[in-house]
């Protein structure tokens, strides 16, 4: 069994030279539900094979009932190369399509840095799946692997 999602398509005002003049960007974004000690929240997140961690805005920790004051932390840097603090906490993540639902616990990062999109990166997400990016169909396929810790 695999989870399958179409890419989300975003309208662009100008023709995109690298996409033969197409005026929309297909991006592998899907809705993921985060479940914490006292709340849950569903957010669009980008499947990003270049992201080391799964990363969400710090504001969400409050919504989920997570106290980050004593949380282990590290630093991260994105395209702008500005260092930002990342604090880690355990949450339950859930993704589903019309045939399959997957829910697992993971340590994910929270940051006060401005994120273009929350990221489903290697640690906490992609490490547990075999991900196939069907560029021709603009479709993403996720299959749990042997390390998947959830149900």
């Amino acid at each position: 069994m695999s989870l399958r999602f179409s890419y989300q398509r975003f309208k662009i005002k100008h023709p995109i030279p690298s996409l033969a003049g197409r005026q929309e960007r297909p991006r592998p974004i899907l809705a993921v539900t985060l479940i914490g000690p006292s709340g849950s929240c569903s957010e669009d997140a980008l499947l990003d094979t270049g992201a080391d961690d799964t990363l969400f805005p710090e504001a969400l920790a409050t919504v989920l009932g997570i106290d980050l004051s004593q949380a282990p932390s590290g630093t991260g840097a994105g395209f702008g190369m500005h260092a930002a603090t990342v604090r880690y906490a355990e949450v339950t993540l859930r993704i589903a399509d019309n045939q399959e639902q997957r829910e697992w616990k993971a340590q994910i990062g929270f940051t006060s840095a401005r994120l273009r999109q929350p990221l489903l990166g290697y640690a906490g997400a992609l490490q547990f799946f075999t991900a196939t990016f069907h560029g021709d169909r603009e479709e993403l396929e996720l299959t749990v692997n042997a390390t998947y810790p959830g149900n």
Binding site: A31, G39, A96
Partner: protein, 83 residues
């Protein structure tokens, strides 16, 4: 994590994305650069604001449970390419 945690609404992301892709681009243009809340099916925008908390406040003001929606950031008009 205690057993009384709230587990949120079930989101079928396949259907959600398919419906999101059907939305006319003009519908989302006013929200460029903002955060919005879509309904769980991805068929309409329920609230918008400058950040997560502004969206949540708008949802509560209109009687919508924030745990039943999907939050998303609509790319700004200058975000043709993500690097």
């Amino acid at each position: 994590m205690n057993d009384n945690r709230k587990t949120g609404v079930f989101i079928d992301s396949k259907r959600y994305n398919e419906n999101r892709n059907r939305l006319p681009p003009e519908l989302l243009e006013p929200y460029a650069g903002q955060y919005v809340a879509f309904n769980a099916e991805g068929t309409c925008v329920l609230a918008h604001g400058e950040d997560h908390f502004a969206v949540e406040a708008m949802l509560r003001a209109t009687g919508v449970d924030p745990e039943t929606v999907v939050y998303a950031r609509i790319p700004g008009a200058d975000e043709d390419t993500w690097l």
